[in-house]
């Protein structure tokens, strides 16, 4: 079961990479991810939320307790 849980996480990551690459090539009617982020990060709440999540990932894995007891 653990392998299945890990597999789903890997599948989500692969889906993200495919989406990014497809957008870069303007294929399937998708826009480049950078253009999407240019648009949504213009709003302060979105910008702060996404950057705080990014910061927390670093904090969680490098500084704080990573695994719950």
């Amino acid at each position: 079961m653990a392998w299945f849980t890990a597999l789903v996480f890997v599948a989500c990551g692969v889906a993200g990479v495919i989406l990014w690459l497809t957008g870069r090539r303007n294929a399937l009617g998708l826009a480049p991810t950078g253009e999407l982020f240019d648009l949504i990060l213009g709003e302060r709440a979105v910008r702060i939320t996404i950057l705080v999540f990014w910061w927390w990932i670093g904090w969680h894995f490098l500084v704080a307790r990573t695994i719950d007891p």
């Binding site: 849980t5 009617g29 950078g34 302060r44 979105v46 996404i50 307790r65």
Partner: protein
Amino acid sequence: MSEKRSGSESIGTEAAGARVRSRAALGSLPWIAIVALTAAVQFVRAAPIDGAVFGIVAVALLADALGLVPRVGPIARPGRLPVLAGAVAACLLLALTPRHGIVDGIVLAGLGIVVIVASWSGVRAPERSAQQRAEQPAARSAVAIRRTAVLWAAVAVATCLWELTSFVLGRVLPEQKGQHPAISDLLDPALDQFWFRALFVVGWTALGLALLSRGGRR
């Protein structure tokens, strides 16, 4: 007559501005809810510092949406060299010093302050020459942007739901926690290896730089 017209024009402009602000405030509510929910999850997993960070950010965003925070102008865009030098220094310190150590804590706290200040005020867009503006590709269609946004949201929501499921199952069925590992459980042992930690630090820093270079006040 002209005074009357300019007065009514001014009222109209103010009303339009208020409508735009209230629309932006409404649009920020789902994001505030996400941050508040994350704060609650952090308190449940007994991580009070993490919970406090998300909680303070949620309150600050709510205050901003309600118009209680004074407006601040965008900050000047820093030069590439200082940003790159700072990023390289942060990478070296985070990769070479012991994980969960005091140096990592100081670097992350410093980065957190810089990122919050930069992202709260926004960064001024770079000046573009007439030639650069002319060479800029035409704006993407709203349909393509919406389709891309929906697909990215689906990936993000699926990842978060799966993580939350693993977290809840690990809590409810502690004897089966090993069967439902969260992302943290999977990555933690690998991050103790120097090369994986160095790769993680470089990838994480590059993502942060990419995010900071997008959006802002344009």
